[in-house]
């Protein structure tokens, strides 16, 4: 889908980077591709590779990788009201391709067009997910096979922060959104000393609660005025 195309500009470098980093950490092609196809979650793949090269015990690698992905439980929950009624197989596929970008695009689209039918919502999700996930897998393969040639000065590490920020900024439409974002960021920075992913799991719900609270206050004020 067209709306997902711009994300390829950042997903592809990010994915190539994973191929490069994983190969440098000593993974063979089968393992690099195993990660990308079976896990399909960039941040946790990077976390796992980092810890494997630090020789962390397997259980720590698994727990940290999963902690980074716990945010996706929140995505899963927030899609429930929009995708109620989808079949079990459809939900399983949705779950497999539920990544940050496909989630962000779809939820934005659903909020902007509340009148869509379930079929249209599923089709939109399938479109974004295919556009994003297929190149993600291919680009990892490219990175693992020819990526060694990329000079280190190309700051691929920052592709992810820039994409995420670019997705979020246009969504900050109301004081409630701003407050949620502010509290979540402040919390994440204050808790950055905690082991991988834990700070996020505290900061993000704090931000969500703040957003909900501010929204509630504003509605109450409007109601009584």
């Amino acid at each position: 889908m067209l709306q997902a195309m711009p994300f390829l500009l950042v997903i592809i470098p990010f994915s190539i980077l994973f191929g490069v980093v994983a190969t440098e950490a000593g993974m063979d092609l089968a393992k690099v591709m195993g990660f990308t196809v079976l896990v399909l979650a960039g941040a946790s793949q990077f976390t796992a590779i980092q810890l494997i090269s630090d020789n962390a015990p397997a259980i720590i690698v698994i727990l940290s990788g999963l902690a980074v992905n716990l945010r996706m439980a929140m995505y899963s929950a927030s899609l429930v009201p929009w995708l109620r009624g989808a079949s079990g197989t459809q939900k399983a596929w949705l779950a497999y391709v539920l990544i940050d970008q496909s989630y962000a695009l779809s939820i934005q689209h659903y909020e902007r067009h509340p009148g869509l039918s379930l079929r249209q919502r599923l089709a939109y999700f399938a479109g974004t997910a295919t556009t994003l996930c297929v190149p993600w897998v291919i680009a990892t393969w490219v990175g693992a096979t020819v990526g060694q040639a990329i000079p280190e000065e190309v700051a691929l590490d920052f592709a992810m922060p820039i994409t995420f920020l670019a997705m979020i900024a246009p969504m900050l439409r109301t004081p409630a959104h701003l407050a949620a974002c502010f509290v979540a960021v402040a919390g994440a920075l204050a808790l950055a000393w905690m082991p991988s992913g834990l700070g996020l799991l505290i900061a993000a719900p704090l931000g969500m609660a703040t957003g909900a609270l501010v929204e509630y206050w504003i509605e109450k004020k409007r109601g009584t005025a």
Partner: protein
């Protein structure tokens, strides 16, 4: 670490990640969620993604976790352009240009 260990990690992460993503959609699927839950869930993306990124902006691993002007400026440019134009592509472009421009100038 042995090959077997690494495959165990890959498969455990794969299954675990799938179950996390499937959790609410699959298990709670068609039940009504209470109003306060829905209200909170509206703020999932604007809370989770910035919280994920903020430490990476301030303490980038590529710079051994030291604050770095090019990356901070790129993040600021991305957010400003995104807020002003509401356009994701323009915001990404602004961030990328700022980052590569400053890395080139400062590097």
């Amino acid at each position: 670490m042995s090959d077997l260990d690494i495959w165990i990690i890959i498969i455990a992460l794969g299954i675990g990640t799938f179950l996390i993503r499937w959790s609410f959609l699959g298990a709670l699927g068609d039940r009504e969620l209470p109003g306060w839950v829905l209200r909170m869930l509206r703020y999932t993306p604007v809370a989770v993604l910035p919280a994920l990124v903020a430490p990476l902006v301030l303490w980038p691993a590529a710079n051994d976790g030291q604050p770095e002007p090019a990356r901070m400026a790129a993040a600021t440019a991305t957010v400003m352009v995104g807020l002003l134009t509401k356009n994701v592509i323009l915001a990404i472009a602004a961030g990328a240009i700022t980052l590569f421009g400053l890395l080139y100038l400062l590097g």
